[in-house]
Amino acid sequence: MSDGITKVTSHISPNEQLIFERSQQGRIGYRLPALDVEESPVNDLLPPHFQRDDDLEGMPEVSEVDVIRHFVRMSTWNYSIDLGMYPLGSCTMKYNSRLNERVARIPDFANVHPMTEEQDSQGALQVIYELEQHLAEITGLPGVSLQPAAGAHGEMTGIMIIRAFLDARDGEAASGRRTMLIPDSAHGTNPASAHLSGFSVKTIRSTSEGLTDLEHLRELCAHGEVAGLMLTNPNTLGLFERNIKQICDIVHEAGGLVYMDGANMNALVGIARPGDMGVDVIHLNLHKTFSTPHGGGGPGSGPCCCTKELEPFLPVPRIVKTDWSAGEPTFRLDYDRPKSIGRVKAFFGNYGMMLRALSYILTHGNDGLREATEAAVLNARYIADGLTSDYDKPFNSPPMHEVVFTDKRQSRKGVHTLDIAKRLIDYGFHPMTIYFPLIVQGAMLIEPTESVGRQELDQFIAAMRSIANEALEDPELVLNAPHSTRVGRLDEAAAARKPVLRWQK
Protein backbone atom coordinates (compact mmCIF):
# COMPACT_ATOMS: atom_id res chain seq x y z
CA MET A 1 0.00 0.00 0.00
CA SER A 2 1.18 3.47 -0.79
CA ASP A 3 1.75 6.14 1.83
CA GLY A 4 -1.58 7.89 1.34
CA ILE A 5 -3.57 4.96 2.68
CA THR A 6 -4.05 5.07 6.41
CA LYS A 7 -6.83 2.58 6.89
CA VAL A 8 -8.38 -0.36 5.14
CA THR A 9 -11.09 0.86 2.85
CA SER A 10 -13.66 -0.71 0.58
CA HIS A 11 -12.65 1.55 -2.28
CA ILE A 12 -9.70 3.64 -3.30
CA SER A 13 -11.78 6.82 -3.65
CA PRO A 14 -11.39 8.15 -0.09
CA ASN A 15 -7.67 8.39 -0.71
CA GLU A 16 -7.66 10.14 -4.03
CA GLN A 17 -4.41 12.07 -4.26
CA LEU A 18 -3.77 15.46 -5.70
CA ILE A 19 -3.56 15.39 -9.49
CA PHE A 20 0.07 16.48 -9.22
CA GLU A 21 0.83 13.39 -7.17
CA ARG A 22 -0.91 11.17 -9.73
CA SER A 23 0.89 12.72 -12.68
CA GLN A 24 3.11 10.38 -14.75
CA GLN A 25 5.51 11.73 -17.30
CA GLY A 26 4.34 11.09 -20.84
CA ARG A 27 0.61 10.62 -20.17
CA ILE A 28 -1.68 12.59 -22.48
CA GLY A 29 -5.34 13.56 -22.05
CA TYR A 30 -6.03 15.44 -25.30
CA ARG A 31 -5.52 15.43 -29.03
CA LEU A 32 -5.50 18.46 -31.32
CA PRO A 33 -5.71 18.46 -35.10
CA ALA A 34 -2.28 18.67 -36.72
CA LEU A 35 -1.14 22.22 -37.38
CA ASP A 36 -2.43 23.02 -40.89
CA VAL A 37 -0.47 26.19 -41.68
CA GLU A 38 3.19 26.62 -42.58
CA GLU A 39 5.19 26.72 -39.39
CA SER A 40 7.65 29.55 -38.75
CA PRO A 41 10.58 29.22 -36.35
CA VAL A 42 9.22 30.41 -33.00
CA ASN A 43 12.23 32.65 -32.49
CA ASP A 44 11.27 34.55 -35.63
CA LEU A 45 7.86 35.31 -34.19
CA LEU A 46 8.78 35.94 -30.58
CA PRO A 47 12.13 37.08 -29.18
CA PRO A 48 13.61 34.27 -27.05
CA HIS A 49 13.66 36.38 -23.89
CA PHE A 50 9.86 36.66 -24.10
CA GLN A 51 9.50 32.86 -24.16
CA ARG A 52 8.93 30.49 -21.28
CA ASP A 53 11.95 28.45 -20.37
CA ASP A 54 10.53 26.22 -17.60
CA ASP A 55 8.69 23.78 -19.90
CA LEU A 56 5.73 24.20 -17.46
CA GLU A 57 7.41 21.89 -15.03
CA GLY A 58 5.12 20.46 -12.36
CA MET A 59 1.93 20.78 -14.38
CA PRO A 60 0.10 17.48 -14.52
CA GLU A 61 0.54 14.84 -17.21
CA VAL A 62 -2.46 12.53 -17.03
CA SER A 63 -4.80 10.64 -19.32
CA GLU A 64 -8.47 11.45 -19.82
CA VAL A 65 -9.40 8.41 -17.73
CA ASP A 66 -7.23 9.70 -14.89
CA VAL A 67 -9.05 13.03 -15.01
CA ILE A 68 -12.54 11.51 -14.97
CA ARG A 69 -11.75 9.20 -12.07
CA HIS A 70 -10.00 11.96 -10.19
CA PHE A 71 -12.97 14.32 -10.26
CA VAL A 72 -15.67 11.72 -9.86
CA ARG A 73 -13.93 10.37 -6.76
CA MET A 74 -13.53 13.84 -5.31
CA SER A 75 -17.14 14.66 -6.12
CA THR A 76 -18.29 11.87 -3.80
CA TRP A 77 -16.83 13.83 -0.88
CA ASN A 78 -19.25 16.72 -1.43
CA TYR A 79 -22.73 17.22 -0.07
CA SER A 80 -25.10 18.77 -2.62
CA ILE A 81 -28.67 19.99 -3.04
CA ASP A 82 -29.43 17.05 -5.27
CA LEU A 83 -28.51 14.75 -2.39
CA GLY A 84 -30.76 16.35 0.17
CA MET A 85 -31.88 19.28 2.22
CA TYR A 86 -29.26 22.03 2.45
CA PRO A 87 -30.74 24.41 5.04
CA LEU A 88 -28.07 27.12 5.00
CA GLY A 89 -29.73 30.25 6.28
CA SER A 90 -29.40 33.30 4.07
CA CYS A 91 -28.14 31.14 1.17
CA THR A 92 -31.46 29.90 -0.31
CA MET A 93 -30.26 26.50 -1.43
CA LYS A 94 -33.19 25.57 -3.64
CA TYR A 95 -33.39 23.07 -6.46
CA ASN A 96 -31.25 23.93 -9.50
CA SER A 97 -33.33 22.76 -12.38
CA ARG A 98 -31.74 20.73 -15.16
CA LEU A 99 -33.93 22.53 -17.66
CA ASN A 100 -32.21 25.81 -16.78
CA GLU A 101 -28.86 24.11 -17.36
CA ARG A 102 -30.01 22.95 -20.74
CA VAL A 103 -31.15 26.44 -21.69
CA ALA A 104 -27.79 27.91 -20.72
CA ARG A 105 -26.06 25.40 -22.99
CA ILE A 106 -28.08 26.13 -26.14
CA PRO A 107 -25.23 26.64 -28.62
CA ASP A 108 -26.81 29.76 -30.08
CA PHE A 109 -26.29 31.40 -26.69
CA ALA A 110 -23.19 29.61 -25.41
CA ASN A 111 -21.24 30.48 -28.56
CA VAL A 112 -22.02 34.20 -28.77
CA HIS A 113 -18.98 36.36 -28.33
CA PRO A 114 -19.54 39.38 -26.05
CA MET A 115 -17.93 41.77 -28.56
CA THR A 116 -20.34 40.74 -31.31
CA GLU A 117 -22.02 43.68 -33.02
CA GLU A 118 -25.60 44.36 -31.92
CA GLN A 119 -27.24 43.23 -35.14
CA ASP A 120 -25.72 39.76 -34.81
CA SER A 121 -26.58 39.20 -31.13
CA GLN A 122 -30.20 40.33 -30.92
CA GLY A 123 -31.35 37.16 -29.16
CA ALA A 124 -28.73 37.54 -26.46
CA LEU A 125 -29.74 41.16 -25.86
CA GLN A 126 -33.40 40.20 -25.81
CA VAL A 127 -32.80 37.78 -22.93
CA ILE A 128 -31.14 40.55 -20.90
CA TYR A 129 -33.95 42.96 -21.69
CA GLU A 130 -36.74 40.56 -20.80
CA LEU A 131 -35.12 39.48 -17.55
CA GLU A 132 -34.67 43.12 -16.59
CA GLN A 133 -38.38 43.74 -17.20
CA HIS A 134 -39.40 40.81 -15.03
CA LEU A 135 -37.06 41.75 -12.18
CA ALA A 136 -38.39 45.31 -12.32
CA GLU A 137 -41.92 43.97 -11.91
CA ILE A 138 -40.93 41.61 -9.09
CA THR A 139 -39.11 44.30 -7.09
CA GLY A 140 -41.28 47.27 -8.05
CA LEU A 141 -38.11 49.10 -9.04
CA PRO A 142 -38.00 49.98 -12.74
CA GLY A 143 -34.28 50.60 -13.36
CA VAL A 144 -32.33 47.34 -13.66
CA SER A 145 -28.74 46.45 -14.48
CA LEU A 146 -27.64 42.84 -14.73
CA GLN A 147 -23.94 43.69 -14.89
CA PRO A 148 -22.92 42.91 -11.28
CA ALA A 149 -21.39 39.44 -10.95
CA ALA A 150 -22.54 38.60 -7.43
CA GLY A 151 -24.47 39.92 -4.46
CA ALA A 152 -21.59 41.89 -3.00
CA HIS A 153 -20.87 43.30 -6.44
CA GLY A 154 -24.50 44.39 -6.77
CA GLU A 155 -24.23 46.00 -3.35
CA MET A 156 -21.17 47.93 -4.39
CA THR A 157 -23.00 49.03 -7.52
CA GLY A 158 -26.05 50.14 -5.55
CA ILE A 159 -24.03 52.06 -3.00
CA MET A 160 -21.98 53.76 -5.72
CA ILE A 161 -25.28 54.78 -7.34
CA ILE A 162 -26.38 56.35 -4.06
CA ARG A 163 -23.10 58.18 -3.84
CA ALA A 164 -23.35 59.44 -7.44
CA PHE A 165 -26.93 60.55 -6.86
CA LEU A 166 -26.03 62.49 -3.71
CA ASP A 167 -23.03 64.08 -5.40
CA ALA A 168 -25.25 65.18 -8.29
CA ARG A 169 -28.02 66.41 -6.00
CA ASP A 170 -25.95 68.18 -3.36
CA GLY A 171 -22.78 69.11 -5.22
CA GLU A 172 -19.99 70.12 -2.84
CA ALA A 173 -22.28 69.69 0.13
CA ALA A 174 -22.43 65.95 -0.50
CA SER A 175 -18.95 65.64 0.99
CA GLY A 176 -20.60 66.22 4.37
CA ARG A 177 -22.82 63.20 3.78
CA ARG A 178 -20.58 60.21 4.00
CA THR A 179 -22.13 58.01 6.67
CA MET A 180 -23.84 54.75 5.81
CA LEU A 181 -26.06 53.24 8.48
CA ILE A 182 -26.01 49.48 8.78
CA PRO A 183 -27.80 47.30 11.34
CA ASP A 184 -25.66 45.14 13.61
CA SER A 185 -27.31 42.04 12.15
CA ALA A 186 -26.19 42.76 8.55
CA HIS A 187 -24.10 40.61 6.22
CA GLY A 188 -20.38 41.51 6.36
CA THR A 189 -20.46 42.46 2.71
CA ASN A 190 -22.63 45.51 3.56
CA PRO A 191 -19.99 47.45 5.51
CA ALA A 192 -17.26 46.27 3.13
CA SER A 193 -19.20 47.53 0.10
CA ALA A 194 -19.97 50.82 1.82
CA HIS A 195 -16.29 51.27 2.60
CA LEU A 196 -15.35 50.63 -1.04
CA SER A 197 -17.67 53.45 -2.05
CA GLY A 198 -15.98 55.86 0.34
CA PHE A 199 -18.52 55.78 3.16
CA SER A 200 -17.85 55.36 6.84
CA VAL A 201 -20.15 52.99 8.65
CA LYS A 202 -22.32 53.56 11.70
CA THR A 203 -24.02 50.58 13.24
CA ILE A 204 -27.70 50.58 14.19
CA ARG A 205 -28.78 48.45 17.10
CA SER A 206 -31.51 45.87 16.88
CA THR A 207 -34.34 45.79 19.40
CA SER A 208 -34.99 42.84 21.70
CA GLU A 209 -37.62 41.83 19.16
CA GLY A 210 -34.91 41.47 16.52
CA LEU A 211 -35.95 44.52 14.49
CA THR A 212 -34.20 47.76 13.60
CA ASP A 213 -34.25 50.12 16.57
CA LEU A 214 -36.23 53.13 15.31
CA GLU A 215 -35.12 55.36 18.16
CA HIS A 216 -31.50 54.64 17.43
CA LEU A 217 -32.10 55.20 13.73
CA ARG A 218 -33.68 58.62 14.44
CA GLU A 219 -30.80 59.50 16.72
CA LEU A 220 -28.20 58.61 14.07
CA CYS A 221 -30.15 60.41 11.34
CA ALA A 222 -30.27 63.54 13.49
CA HIS A 223 -26.53 63.99 12.99
CA GLY A 224 -27.21 65.17 9.47
CA GLU A 225 -24.45 63.43 7.56
CA VAL A 226 -26.40 60.32 6.66
CA ALA A 227 -26.04 59.19 3.07
CA GLY A 228 -28.22 56.19 3.48
CA LEU A 229 -29.22 52.99 5.15
CA MET A 230 -28.43 49.44 4.09
CA LEU A 231 -31.15 47.12 5.27
CA THR A 232 -31.87 43.45 4.69
CA ASN A 233 -35.57 42.65 4.61
CA PRO A 234 -36.67 40.18 5.84
CA ASN A 235 -33.64 40.77 8.01
CA THR A 236 -30.96 38.19 8.72
CA LEU A 237 -32.98 36.88 11.66
CA GLY A 238 -35.68 35.93 9.19
CA LEU A 239 -38.03 38.66 10.46
CA PHE A 240 -39.89 41.12 8.28
CA GLU A 241 -39.05 44.70 9.23
CA ARG A 242 -42.66 45.70 9.69
CA ASN A 243 -41.68 49.35 10.20
CA ILE A 244 -39.98 49.41 6.83
CA LYS A 245 -42.10 52.30 5.52
CA GLN A 246 -41.38 54.38 8.58
CA ILE A 247 -37.70 53.46 8.37
CA CYS A 248 -37.56 54.64 4.77
CA ASP A 249 -39.38 57.85 5.70
CA ILE A 250 -36.94 58.63 8.49
CA VAL A 251 -33.95 58.11 6.19
CA HIS A 252 -35.52 60.07 3.34
CA GLU A 253 -36.40 62.95 5.65
CA ALA A 254 -32.78 63.02 6.71
CA GLY A 255 -31.81 63.37 3.06
CA GLY A 256 -30.50 59.84 2.66
CA LEU A 257 -31.47 56.91 0.47
CA VAL A 258 -32.41 53.36 1.38
CA TYR A 259 -30.52 50.41 0.02
CA MET A 260 -32.05 46.99 0.50
CA ASP A 261 -29.93 43.85 0.56
CA GLY A 262 -32.12 41.49 -1.44
CA ALA A 263 -30.50 38.29 -0.21
CA ASN A 264 -33.78 37.30 1.39
CA MET A 265 -36.12 38.01 -1.52
CA ASN A 266 -37.22 34.39 -1.52
CA ALA A 267 -39.60 35.44 1.25
CA LEU A 268 -41.20 38.20 -0.79
CA VAL A 269 -41.45 37.34 -4.50
CA GLY A 270 -45.08 37.77 -5.56
CA ILE A 271 -46.09 38.82 -2.03
CA ALA A 272 -44.63 42.28 -1.48
CA ARG A 273 -42.31 44.56 -3.42
CA PRO A 274 -39.39 46.61 -2.08
CA GLY A 275 -40.30 49.46 -4.44
CA ASP A 276 -43.69 49.74 -2.72
CA MET A 277 -41.99 49.92 0.69
CA GLY A 278 -39.97 53.02 -0.09
CA VAL A 279 -36.71 51.30 -0.95
CA ASP A 280 -34.58 53.20 -3.50
CA VAL A 281 -32.17 50.54 -4.66
CA ILE A 282 -31.73 46.81 -4.12
CA HIS A 283 -29.58 43.97 -5.32
CA LEU A 284 -30.93 40.50 -6.01
CA ASN A 285 -29.05 37.23 -5.90
CA LEU A 286 -29.97 35.22 -8.97
CA HIS A 287 -28.12 32.29 -7.36
CA LYS A 288 -30.45 32.41 -4.38
CA THR A 289 -33.96 33.54 -5.24
CA PHE A 290 -33.82 32.57 -8.90
CA SER A 291 -32.15 29.19 -8.46
CA THR A 292 -29.01 29.54 -10.53
CA PRO A 293 -26.51 27.00 -9.22
CA HIS A 294 -24.14 27.91 -6.40
CA GLY A 295 -21.44 25.80 -8.01
CA GLY A 296 -19.37 25.24 -4.88
CA GLY A 297 -19.06 29.01 -4.39
CA GLY A 298 -20.05 30.94 -7.49
CA PRO A 299 -20.72 32.10 -10.08
CA GLY A 300 -23.28 34.38 -8.60
CA SER A 301 -25.15 37.17 -10.27
CA GLY A 302 -26.26 40.30 -8.45
CA PRO A 303 -28.64 42.47 -10.48
CA CYS A 304 -29.14 45.97 -9.19
CA CYS A 305 -32.68 47.41 -9.33
CA CYS A 306 -33.52 51.04 -8.57
CA THR A 307 -36.09 53.79 -8.80
CA LYS A 308 -36.68 55.84 -11.94
CA GLU A 309 -34.84 58.68 -10.25
CA LEU A 310 -31.68 56.61 -9.83
CA GLU A 311 -31.79 54.91 -13.23
CA PRO A 312 -29.45 57.42 -14.97
CA PHE A 313 -26.70 56.31 -12.58
CA LEU A 314 -26.78 52.59 -13.45
CA PRO A 315 -23.68 51.03 -15.06
CA VAL A 316 -23.17 51.28 -18.82
CA PRO A 317 -23.94 49.96 -21.33
CA ARG A 318 -27.72 49.78 -20.93
CA ILE A 319 -29.82 47.60 -23.19
CA VAL A 320 -32.64 49.54 -24.82
CA LYS A 321 -35.50 48.46 -27.04
CA THR A 322 -35.53 50.47 -30.21
CA ASP A 323 -38.02 49.11 -32.68
CA TRP A 324 -39.63 46.11 -34.18
CA SER A 325 -38.39 44.23 -37.19
CA ALA A 326 -40.00 41.16 -38.74
CA GLY A 327 -42.33 40.77 -35.78
CA GLU A 328 -39.52 40.83 -33.23
CA PRO A 329 -38.33 43.69 -31.05
CA THR A 330 -34.85 45.04 -31.72
CA PHE A 331 -32.32 46.09 -29.13
CA ARG A 332 -29.24 48.20 -28.95
CA LEU A 333 -26.57 49.09 -26.43
CA ASP A 334 -26.68 52.58 -25.00
CA TYR A 335 -23.33 53.91 -23.82
CA ASP A 336 -24.41 57.53 -23.68
CA ARG A 337 -25.28 57.85 -20.01
CA PRO A 338 -23.20 60.72 -18.66
CA LYS A 339 -24.40 60.26 -15.06
CA SER A 340 -23.55 56.55 -14.95
CA ILE A 341 -21.21 55.32 -12.21
CA GLY A 342 -19.32 53.56 -15.02
CA ARG A 343 -18.77 49.95 -15.81
CA VAL A 344 -18.50 47.43 -12.94
CA LYS A 345 -17.50 44.43 -15.05
CA ALA A 346 -16.22 43.72 -18.53
CA PHE A 347 -19.00 42.81 -20.97
CA PHE A 348 -22.56 42.31 -19.66
CA GLY A 349 -22.31 40.37 -16.41
CA ASN A 350 -22.67 36.68 -15.71
CA TYR A 351 -24.81 36.09 -18.77
CA GLY A 352 -25.19 32.31 -18.35
CA MET A 353 -26.90 32.99 -15.02
CA MET A 354 -29.35 35.37 -16.70
CA LEU A 355 -30.46 32.62 -19.08
CA ARG A 356 -31.07 30.30 -16.14
CA ALA A 357 -32.94 32.93 -14.12
CA LEU A 358 -35.19 33.84 -17.03
CA SER A 359 -35.86 30.15 -17.53
CA TYR A 360 -36.77 29.91 -13.82
CA ILE A 361 -39.21 32.82 -14.05
CA LEU A 362 -40.87 31.49 -17.21
CA THR A 363 -41.08 27.93 -15.90
CA HIS A 364 -42.77 29.04 -12.68
CA GLY A 365 -45.04 31.59 -14.23
CA ASN A 366 -46.40 34.41 -12.10
CA ASP A 367 -48.56 32.14 -9.96
CA GLY A 368 -45.71 29.64 -9.53
CA LEU A 369 -43.40 32.37 -8.27
CA ARG A 370 -45.87 33.23 -5.54
CA GLU A 371 -46.47 29.57 -4.79
CA ALA A 372 -42.73 29.04 -4.30
CA THR A 373 -42.59 31.91 -1.83
CA GLU A 374 -45.53 30.54 0.15
CA ALA A 375 -44.01 27.06 0.22
CA ALA A 376 -40.63 28.41 1.35
CA VAL A 377 -42.11 30.41 4.22
CA LEU A 378 -44.37 27.55 5.21
CA ASN A 379 -41.41 25.17 5.41
CA ALA A 380 -39.49 27.59 7.64
CA ARG A 381 -42.50 28.09 9.91
CA TYR A 382 -42.94 24.33 10.12
CA ILE A 383 -39.35 23.90 11.27
CA ALA A 384 -39.69 26.80 13.72
CA ASP A 385 -42.67 25.03 15.19
CA GLY A 386 -40.99 21.64 15.28
CA LEU A 387 -37.81 22.72 17.07
CA THR A 388 -39.16 25.15 19.65
CA SER A 389 -39.49 22.47 22.30
CA ASP A 390 -35.80 21.51 22.13
CA TYR A 391 -33.91 24.62 21.11
CA ASP A 392 -33.87 28.18 22.34
CA LYS A 393 -35.48 30.61 19.91
CA PRO A 394 -34.22 34.10 20.70
CA PHE A 395 -37.10 35.99 19.08
CA ASN A 396 -40.80 35.39 19.48
CA SER A 397 -42.06 36.88 16.23
CA PRO A 398 -43.00 34.35 13.58
CA PRO A 399 -40.22 33.98 11.01
CA MET A 400 -40.51 34.34 7.28
CA HIS A 401 -38.35 32.07 5.07
CA GLU A 402 -35.69 31.30 7.69
CA VAL A 403 -35.57 30.90 11.44
CA VAL A 404 -32.84 31.37 14.01
CA PHE A 405 -32.26 29.15 17.04
CA THR A 406 -29.39 29.09 19.52
CA ASP A 407 -27.34 26.58 21.49
CA LYS A 408 -28.27 28.23 24.80
CA ARG A 409 -29.75 25.06 26.31
CA GLN A 410 -27.18 22.66 24.89
CA SER A 411 -24.19 24.80 25.84
CA ARG A 412 -24.89 24.11 29.49
CA LYS A 413 -23.60 20.63 28.75
CA GLY A 414 -20.65 22.00 26.81
CA VAL A 415 -22.24 21.28 23.45
CA HIS A 416 -22.12 24.29 21.15
CA THR A 417 -23.55 25.29 17.82
CA LEU A 418 -20.51 24.03 15.94
CA ASP A 419 -20.91 20.60 17.52
CA ILE A 420 -24.61 20.43 16.71
CA ALA A 421 -23.82 21.37 13.11
CA LYS A 422 -21.15 18.68 12.82
CA ARG A 423 -23.41 16.06 14.35
CA LEU A 424 -26.15 16.92 11.84
CA ILE A 425 -23.77 15.70 9.14
CA ASP A 426 -23.93 12.23 10.67
CA TYR A 427 -27.70 12.33 10.23
CA GLY A 428 -27.27 12.98 6.50
CA PHE A 429 -28.05 16.69 6.45
CA HIS A 430 -25.97 19.64 5.52
CA PRO A 431 -25.71 21.91 8.58
CA MET A 432 -27.50 25.22 8.81
CA THR A 433 -25.65 28.55 8.78
CA ILE A 434 -23.85 28.87 12.09
CA TYR A 435 -22.69 31.84 14.15
CA PHE A 436 -24.52 34.23 11.87
CA PRO A 437 -26.04 36.75 12.44
CA LEU A 438 -23.31 37.87 14.78
CA ILE A 439 -25.71 39.51 17.24
CA VAL A 440 -27.13 36.16 18.30
CA GLN A 441 -24.77 34.13 20.41
CA GLY A 442 -24.42 30.59 19.08
CA ALA A 443 -26.79 31.31 16.21
CA MET A 444 -28.16 28.52 14.01
CA LEU A 445 -29.91 30.04 11.00
CA ILE A 446 -32.12 27.55 9.19
CA GLU A 447 -33.55 28.15 5.72
CA PRO A 448 -35.19 25.07 4.21
CA THR A 449 -36.46 26.74 0.99
CA GLU A 450 -39.49 25.46 -0.91
CA SER A 451 -37.51 22.54 -2.34
CA VAL A 452 -38.03 20.23 0.65
CA GLY A 453 -40.96 17.90 1.16
CA ARG A 454 -42.74 17.31 4.43
CA GLN A 455 -41.15 13.91 5.06
CA GLU A 456 -37.68 15.35 4.82
CA LEU A 457 -38.63 18.28 7.04
CA ASP A 458 -39.89 15.79 9.62
CA GLN A 459 -36.64 13.85 9.36
CA PHE A 460 -34.66 17.04 9.85
CA ILE A 461 -36.71 18.01 12.89
CA ALA A 462 -36.30 14.48 14.28
CA ALA A 463 -32.54 14.65 13.71
CA MET A 464 -32.25 17.99 15.48
CA ARG A 465 -34.32 16.76 18.43
CA SER A 466 -32.27 13.62 18.62
CA ILE A 467 -29.10 15.72 18.76
CA ALA A 468 -30.61 17.83 21.53
CA ASN A 469 -31.19 14.61 23.39
CA GLU A 470 -27.66 13.36 22.73
CA ALA A 471 -26.31 16.67 24.01
CA LEU A 472 -27.95 15.89 27.32
CA GLU A 473 -27.18 12.17 27.55
CA ASP A 474 -23.98 11.63 25.60
CA PRO A 475 -22.34 14.98 24.90
CA GLU A 476 -19.06 13.33 23.86
CA LEU A 477 -20.81 11.78 20.89
CA VAL A 478 -21.80 15.22 19.67
CA LEU A 479 -18.50 16.86 20.57
CA ASN A 480 -16.56 14.40 18.43
CA ALA A 481 -18.87 14.51 15.41
CA PRO A 482 -18.89 13.98 12.53
CA HIS A 483 -18.19 10.26 12.70
CA SER A 484 -19.19 9.34 9.18
CA THR A 485 -17.07 11.50 6.89
CA ARG A 486 -13.89 10.98 4.92
CA VAL A 487 -12.00 13.34 7.21
CA GLY A 488 -12.80 14.46 10.72
CA ARG A 489 -12.66 18.01 12.00
CA LEU A 490 -9.59 19.60 10.51
CA ASP A 491 -7.11 21.66 12.49
CA GLU A 492 -7.93 25.07 11.08
CA ALA A 493 -5.70 26.91 13.54
CA ALA A 494 -2.61 25.02 12.40
CA ALA A 495 -3.63 25.59 8.77
CA ALA A 496 -3.87 29.35 9.34
CA ARG A 497 -0.61 29.61 11.30
CA LYS A 498 1.56 28.04 8.61
CA PRO A 499 -0.57 28.25 5.49
CA VAL A 500 0.10 25.75 2.72
CA LEU A 501 -1.81 27.17 -0.21
CA ARG A 502 -0.40 25.16 -3.11
CA TRP A 503 1.17 21.85 -3.90
CA GLN A 504 4.91 21.78 -4.32
CA LYS A 505 7.17 18.96 -5.27
Binding site: Y435, E492, A493, A496, R497
Partner: protein, 130 residues
Protein backbone atom coordinates in the same frame (compact mmCIF):
# COMPACT_ATOMS: atom_id res chain seq x y z
CA UNK B 1 -10.90 30.38 36.01
CA UNK B 2 -8.60 32.79 34.21
CA UNK B 3 -5.14 33.39 35.59
CA UNK B 4 -4.60 37.00 36.79
CA UNK B 5 -1.08 37.54 38.19
CA UNK B 6 -0.88 39.90 41.17
CA UNK B 7 2.11 41.95 40.03
CA UNK B 8 0.66 43.30 36.76
CA UNK B 9 -1.57 46.20 35.76
CA UNK B 10 -4.63 45.65 33.58
CA UNK B 11 -6.78 47.56 31.09
CA UNK B 12 -10.47 47.17 30.39
CA UNK B 13 -9.51 46.16 26.86
CA UNK B 14 -7.86 43.06 28.40
CA UNK B 15 -4.22 44.02 28.04
CA UNK B 16 -1.69 43.60 30.85
CA UNK B 17 1.30 45.80 31.64
CA UNK B 18 4.46 44.78 33.46
CA UNK B 19 6.51 47.80 34.57
CA UNK B 20 10.30 47.51 34.46
CA UNK B 21 11.81 50.88 35.33
CA UNK B 22 10.72 53.30 32.63
CA UNK B 23 9.60 50.52 30.35
CA UNK B 24 6.30 48.73 30.01
CA UNK B 25 5.93 45.19 28.68
CA UNK B 26 2.49 44.63 27.20
CA UNK B 27 0.45 41.59 26.24
CA UNK B 28 -3.12 40.31 26.36
CA UNK B 29 -4.59 38.57 29.39
CA UNK B 30 -5.36 34.94 29.92
CA UNK B 31 -9.05 35.84 29.89
CA UNK B 32 -8.66 37.54 26.50
CA UNK B 33 -6.75 34.68 24.89
CA UNK B 34 -9.31 32.26 26.22
CA UNK B 35 -12.26 34.08 24.71
CA UNK B 36 -10.41 34.60 21.43
CA UNK B 37 -9.53 30.93 20.94
CA UNK B 38 -6.51 29.58 19.07
CA UNK B 39 -4.37 32.53 18.06
CA UNK B 40 -3.04 32.15 14.51
CA UNK B 41 -1.49 35.52 13.77
CA UNK B 42 -0.34 38.58 15.67
CA UNK B 43 0.17 41.87 13.89
CA UNK B 44 2.57 44.13 15.77
CA UNK B 45 3.99 47.63 15.25
CA UNK B 46 7.64 48.37 14.48
CA UNK B 47 10.22 49.45 17.00
CA UNK B 48 10.26 53.24 17.05
CA UNK B 49 6.50 53.63 16.51
CA UNK B 50 4.86 55.99 18.96
CA UNK B 51 1.44 55.52 20.53
CA UNK B 52 -0.68 57.33 23.04
CA UNK B 53 -2.69 55.47 25.63
CA UNK B 54 -5.66 53.42 24.36
CA UNK B 55 -4.53 53.71 20.76
CA UNK B 56 -4.62 50.52 18.69
CA UNK B 57 -1.14 49.17 18.03
CA UNK B 58 -1.90 45.89 16.34
CA UNK B 59 -4.27 42.98 16.21
CA UNK B 60 -4.61 39.37 17.24
CA UNK B 61 -6.28 36.89 14.92
CA UNK B 62 -7.88 33.59 15.66
CA UNK B 63 -9.29 31.39 12.90
CA UNK B 64 -12.56 33.31 12.73
CA UNK B 65 -12.02 36.58 14.59
CA UNK B 66 -9.79 39.61 14.68
CA UNK B 67 -9.31 41.70 17.80
CA UNK B 68 -7.49 44.96 17.91
CA UNK B 69 -5.00 45.44 20.70
CA UNK B 70 -4.73 48.77 22.46
CA UNK B 71 -1.79 50.13 24.35
CA UNK B 72 -2.74 50.92 27.96
CA UNK B 73 0.06 53.49 28.26
CA UNK B 74 1.67 56.11 26.03
CA UNK B 75 5.18 55.74 24.70
CA UNK B 76 7.58 54.57 22.03
CA UNK B 77 7.98 50.93 21.07
CA UNK B 78 11.51 49.77 21.89
CA UNK B 79 11.12 46.15 20.82
CA UNK B 80 8.51 43.63 19.79
CA UNK B 81 8.21 39.90 20.39
CA UNK B 82 9.59 38.61 17.07
CA UNK B 83 8.98 35.00 18.03
CA UNK B 84 5.21 35.47 17.71
CA UNK B 85 5.60 35.48 13.94
CA UNK B 86 6.49 31.80 14.07
CA UNK B 87 4.74 30.81 17.27
CA UNK B 88 1.58 32.86 17.70
CA UNK B 89 0.26 30.02 19.84
CA UNK B 90 2.39 31.20 22.76
CA UNK B 91 -0.26 33.90 23.28
CA UNK B 92 -2.54 31.00 24.24
CA UNK B 93 -0.09 28.84 26.13
CA UNK B 94 1.81 31.51 28.04
CA UNK B 95 0.06 34.89 27.73
CA UNK B 96 2.08 36.55 30.50
CA UNK B 97 5.43 35.08 29.50
CA UNK B 98 6.44 33.91 26.03
CA UNK B 99 3.27 35.50 24.66
CA UNK B 100 4.27 39.11 25.48
CA UNK B 101 3.84 41.50 22.58
CA UNK B 102 5.65 44.81 22.83
CA UNK B 103 8.05 46.64 25.08
CA UNK B 104 7.58 50.40 25.29
CA UNK B 105 9.45 53.31 26.81
CA UNK B 106 6.69 55.12 28.66
CA UNK B 107 6.28 58.84 28.09
CA UNK B 108 4.05 59.34 31.13
CA UNK B 109 4.65 56.49 33.58
CA UNK B 110 1.93 57.94 35.82
CA UNK B 111 -0.68 56.45 33.49
CA UNK B 112 -0.04 53.07 35.04
CA UNK B 113 -1.72 54.19 38.22
CA UNK B 114 -5.05 54.62 36.49
CA UNK B 115 -5.03 50.99 35.30
CA UNK B 116 -6.80 48.18 37.09
CA UNK B 117 -5.18 46.07 39.79
CA UNK B 118 -5.36 42.29 39.56
CA UNK B 119 -8.31 42.19 41.96
CA UNK B 120 -10.16 44.95 40.13
CA UNK B 121 -9.55 43.24 36.78
CA UNK B 122 -10.83 39.97 38.14
CA UNK B 123 -14.05 41.66 39.25
CA UNK B 124 -14.30 43.38 35.90
CA UNK B 125 -14.08 40.13 33.91
CA UNK B 126 -16.55 38.44 36.22
CA UNK B 127 -19.05 41.23 35.60
CA UNK B 128 -18.38 41.08 31.86
CA UNK B 129 -18.97 37.36 31.51
CA UNK B 130 -22.26 37.49 33.39
Amino acid sequence: MANVPEDLHYSKDHEWVRVEGNEAIIGITDYAQNSLGDVVYVELPKAGDEFSASESFGSVESVKAVSEIFTPVSGVVTSINESLADEPESVNSDPYGAGWMVRMRMSSPGEVDSLLTAAEYEDFTKAESE
